[in-house]
């Protein structure tokens, strides 16, 4: 399976904001369980619809979506529970977790993103 190192950034999008009060809605899921990537990156890795993003603490499966303006070595995930599942914090510094500029690898996958309930379920136990 092809793998590639990228920088991960997360951030707001209007869709993420529009459905932020409706976390269990399909719209919120569509808006946030998604990874935006440069078209060339998608081609290079033979990604079809879904992508697995790995960081030093966890992995997550997201829907892959093309975006023109994004550099080839960067991926963008809207802020929310899916992005945060793979993010960490440098304790004893500024209190701000690492939401942007995080080292990650990506790879194609046939798996599907978890629903919110199941994703949160991973934290239990």
């Amino acid at each position: 399976m092809k793998k590639k190192r990228v920088k991960l950034i997360t951030g707001r999008t209007i869709e993420q904001g529009m459905f932020i009060e409706h976390k269990t809605s399909k719209e919120y899921f569509d808006a946030t369980a998604t990874c935006f990537m440069n078209e060339r990156l998608i081609k290079e890795l033979d990604i079809e619809d879904y992508v697995k993003v790995n960081t030093d603490i966890a992995s997550i499966v997201l829907r892959a979506e093309r975006e023109k303006g994004i550099p080839k070595d960067l991926i963008f995930i809207p802020m929310g529970p899916w992005a945060n599942f793979i993010l960490n914090i440098d304790i004893g510094l500024s209190g701000m977790p690492s939401f942007k500029g995080v080292d990650a690898t990506i790879e194609p996958t046939d798996d599907r993103p978890l629903e919110l309930k199941d994703l949160i379920g991973l934290y239990k136990g």
Partner: protein, 256 residues
């Protein structure tokens, strides 16, 4: 010499604030009085004896011949040695944040790792960290003008970010690597990094930073002054940070 041994029996994850563990505070107290000292565990007060078993050997005439030994993993004991003026503390394991902050004299040795803000605003004395150190070692408080202004900190392992932030006196030696922005905003004193450093000297206006390993991502706002020999080794000397007015900081990077 009077040796007071504190055997840690607490293993919770809520940190204990123990700024009263100093030679100054223990110097004139009996074992029983030491056991009755107040520590802070979350929003409740606890007695020192609830956290540590205390044993005392020998006697002392002043603060300088008091030695405190802390046994066990004190990674959740904060503020040990805060403001101490003399004597000695030996931490046999790890220690939590702000150990030796505002220290004025004496010596603290940490056999394990030290967490962030160790030696914050320290004025004098010596801290030796045999393991790794967290962030903001020897730094200043949020918004304060100055960090460490005297004394010496030695880190035998790696140092975290913002080592010696706002430092304006004293000395820090790191045997291994320092993470981003060592000597950030420093105005005096000396930092020696024997391993590698990332972006050292950001916004520095004075003092010396010596990097014996490799500098990763050297900041563009430093001016190259030429070669200089320190202790028989060749260094490249830079002045900066020229993003600041009147900047006179010296950054020495070992010549390849």
């Amino acid at each position: 010499m009077r040796v007071i041994t504190l055997n840690l029996k607490y293993d919770g994850s809520i940190p204990v604030e123990a700024e009263t563990i100093t030679p100054d505070s223990f110097s004139d107290k009996s074992k029983e009085e030491i056991e009755e000292l107040s520590l802070y565990l979350g929003n409740k007060v606890v007695k020192l004896r609830e956290i540590f078993d205390v044993s005392v050997e020998g006697s002392n005439t002043g603060i300088d011949d008091v030695k405190i030994i802390i046994k066990g993993n004190a990674y959740r004991i904060k503020r040990i040695g805060e403001g101490m003026t003399g004597g000695e503390i030996l931490v046999e394991g790890n220690v939590d944040m702000r150990c030796g902050s505002m220290m004025r004299g004496g010596k603290i040795t940490i056999k394990g790792n030290a967490d962030s803000w160790t030696g914050q605003e320290m004025v004098g004395g010596e801290i030796i960290i045999e393991g790794d150190a967290g962030n903001y070692i020897g730094s200043g408080y949020r918004g304060a003008l100055n960090g460490m202004s005297g004394g010496k900190i030695t880190i035998k392992g790696n140092a975290g970010l913002y080592l010696g932030e706002k430092m304006n006196g004293g000395e820090i030696v790191v045997e291994k690597d320092a993470d981003m922005l060592a000597g950030l905003e420093m105005s005096g004193g000396k930092i020696t990094i024997k391993g590698n450093a990332i972006m050292p000297g950001g916004e520095m206006t004075g003092g010396d930073i010596i990097v014996m390993g490799t500098v990763i991502d050297r900041l563009p706002t430093f001016k190259y002054l030429g070669k200089e020999i320190i202790d028989n080794a060749n260094f490249e000397k830079y002045v900066g940070d020229l993003a600041m007015r009147r900047a006179k900081g010296s950054l020495y990077i070992k010549a390849p």
